[in-house]
């Protein structure tokens, strides 16, 4: 596609815990943590892509790999059509910026906002030296902070204000792609709304492409054009936000959207109290057994999936939904969806 600004192909990032020489002598093998394990993802120009998934599914790791904080174990990241090298040029580094989750730890407590911004502006030579202050003031306006904020240190701000500072810092480098790693989840509800609004505004005024990581489904629904669902290091479903929420294809997506608490209108607490009180234990065992026999990797959701079948012994790739090719899901049931269009075979949310 021509308007894609960022593409991730087969990206993997594994963490191998450091095993000392002595331990190796004693036969301890490092156990790899496959935080990100083969992710394909495309970000279009001007688009906001939501990334949701449970805690530990690798969202942050993926985001950090894209910004260049973690060298990938495998796969490539393509920016504007070009593969990003291991050592990025300054311009490339600048183009992809990140807003961090925790407004309390993401700012250096010993620097004022002004120093923080000036350092970046000077180092990347974004504006002439004498214009640094002016540009800093502009950035403050942009994120809705008073100019006097430049003289303050992080601890003198509220959570929402800090998050604005964090955004200003990312924007100071004039990026084209912005990764937001759960930028609102540490914030109070009322403050959360202002930051979400700010994101919406900035995206429009600055023509940014945004990857918005969150575990809050409601927030993603509010601001993302498209959404990708991540499960244990892989994308299991992508599609435009509305359809994905209203008609989830992957069983995990279904579980996710179904678990979101709703203010009124839902019929009390959600069902799944004790997980997998299940009648599909036999199938699961069969899946595990056949996977072990054939040396295949089973679908990573198989051990929780209410609709697990024997074919799940082989992990499916992202398959296009026959009803809507813009939607992809990594589930063996996807090709069959054509037959059941309209009739929801599995129990799903309303």
């Amino acid at each position: 596609m021509t308007n894609e600004i960022l593409a991730v192909e087969g990206l993997a990032r594994h963490f191998a815990p450091h095993v000392s020489v002595i331990d190796r002598l004693f036969g301890t093998k490092p156990t790899e943590n496959r935080a990100v394990d083969g992710v394909d993802l495309v970000l279009h120009k001007g688009e906001t892509l939501g990334l949701v998934g449970e805690s530990g599914s690798g969202k942050s790791t993926l985001a950090r790999a894209i910004v260049g904080l973690h060298p990938p174990t495998a796969g490539v990241i393509r920016y504007d059509g070009e593969v990003l090298p291991a050592k990025r040029t300054r311009a490339q580094q600048r183009a992809i910026q990140m807003v961090f989750q925790d407004p309390y730890s993401s700012l250096n407590p010993r620097m004022t906002v002004g120093q923080m911004l000036a350092e970046l502006l000077r180092f990347h030579k974004l504006v002439p030296r004498d214009k640094v202050r002016e540009r800093s003031r502009e950035l403050m306006h942009l994120v809705g902070l008073p100019e006097r904020a430049l003289g303050q240190r992080p601890r003198q701000f509220s959570g929402g204000q800090r998050q604005r500072v964090g955004i200003a810092r990312a924007l100071a480098l004039e990026p084209t792609v912005l990764l937001a790693d759960e930028p609102v989840s540490a914030l109070d509800v009322s403050v959360q709304a202002t930051i979400i609004n700010l994101f919406a505004d900035l995206k429009d005024t600055l023509d940014l492409s945004v990857i918005f990581v969150s575990h809050n489904m409601a927030v993603v629904r509010q601001i993302c054009d498209r959404t990708a669902v991540m499960y244990r290091g892989r994308i299991v479903e992508t599609g435009s936000t509305g359809t994905l929420f209203d008609d989830p294809v992957h069983p995990y997506t279904r579980l996710l959207t179904g678990s979101v608490p709703r203010l009124v209108g839902s019929e009390g607490p959600v069902r799944a109290e004790v997980e997998a009180e299940d009648d599909r234990g036999d199938v699961r065992q069969e899946v595990a057994a056949s996977a072990a026999r054939d040396g295949t990797t089973p679908c990573r959701f198989a051990d929780r999936c209410p609709s697990v079948v024997a074919e799940c012994a082989v992990e499916p790739p992202l398959l296009p939904d026959p009803r809507d090719p813009a939607r992809l899901a990594a589930c063996v049931h996807v090709p069959r969806l054509a037959e059941v269009v309209g009739a929801d075979a599995e129990p799903g949310p309303t």
């Binding site: 000392s20 002595i22 331990d23 002598l25 004693f26 301890t28």
Partner: protein, 313 residues
């Protein structure tokens, strides 16, 4: 089993450290000015006799040869022969080491006896009078040198009150027990201020944590909460502090042994340095280093025993 494998691993990991230590010890000692042969022979020695003795002691060989010989002997558990006493260094150390270990153990016990109650009290009465007193007074132990404290303790408890012997180590277990009290307290007075501070800080932190509130909400008694929940958690972080400082203060035994005339390796070491008794100094320094390593190992094991989150690896 978990512990055994762990200990084994630690021992293997020790090898490079020990080699490093032996290198330092060996070359450091040889940097000290003064010729052991001349020292041994005294004022009437002639250059020829000195040279003869040097050859006999192997001091005329190049230093690296001497080191290799030393290492070779070391592998056989042989630390060489004392120049001064003409007896094996291993023998010298094995007779005096128990005294030093005994002193360290009793010092640690007294430290715990002093520090734990005071720290708990200070943390419970945070910022109160008791807290401030407990924080300020032990600094005396930190600021006054051990040889001063030791003498004062002897004056008071040995000479005035006759509670404990003035010095010495005795020849039987009851005598050892009585004899080690004052030296142990002297070590403890230097060690406990540090432990009090650390334990108090972690107690305060622990007491303000959520699980203490949870414990309170169960309605169990306050003392049970403090002793059963808070202290153990506070101990987790303080054990390391204690370990590091025991290791650090192993050096104090040098002085304490001297003041209380305990026949430990600390005193032995000073004498050997003064007498340029290279093999003995080497052996003792090595012993000290191994003791520190063992203290560290014990610290880690205790830490692991206290804190289930710690994985032994």
């Amino acid at each position: 089993m978990r512990y055994l494998v762990y200990i084994l691993k630690r021992l293997v990991a020790l090898i490079p450290v020990l080699i490093g230590i032996s290198l330092i010890v060996f070359f450091l000692i040889r940097l000290i000015p003064g010729d052991p042969a001349a020292t041994l022979l005294g004022s009437h020695a002639t250059p020829e006799t000195v040279h003869e003795l040097r050859t006999q002691l192997g001091l005329t060989q190049p230093v690296w040869r001497q080191y290799l010989t030393f290492l070779g002997h070391l592998l056989h558990g042989n630390l060489g022969y004392s120049y001064v006493y003409s007896s094996s260094v291993v023998d010298l150390i094995t007779t005096s080491l128990p005294v030093t270990i005994w002193l360290l153990v009793s010092g640690t016990v007294f430290t715990l006896l002093i520090a734990v109650p005071l720290a708990v009290l200070a943390a419970a009465r945070r910022n109160g009078v008791a807290d401030n007193v407990i924080r300020a007074v032990p600094v005396i132990g930190l600021g006054l040198p051990s040889f001063w404290l030791g003498i004062i303790l002897i004056l008071i408890f040995g000479l005035k009150l006759h509670w404990f012997p003035v010095a010495g180590y005795g020849n039987s277990l009851p005598e050892h027990l009585r004899g080690i009290v004052l030296p142990g307290i002297t070590v403890a007075l230097a060690l406990s201020p540090i432990l009090i501070r650390s334990l108090r800080a972690s107690m305060i932190e622990v007491l303000s944590s959520d699980y203490i509130v949870t414990a309170h909400s169960k309605g169990i008694s306050t003392s049970r909460v403090v002793l059963g929940h808070a202290l153990r958690n506070a101990a987790v972080s303080s054990v390391t502090v204690l370990g590091v400082n025991i290791a650090y203060l192993t050096g104090t035994t040098l002085v304490v042994e001297r003041v209380f005339s305990l026949p430990g390796i600390g005193q032995q070491m000073i004498n050997s340095i003064l007498g340029r008794d290279f093999p003995t100094v080497q052996g003792i320094t090595l012993t000290f280093a191994i003791m520190v390593v063992i203290v560290n190992l014990l610290t880690d094991l205790t830490h692991a025993a206290l804190d289930p989150r710690v994985k032994l690896s």
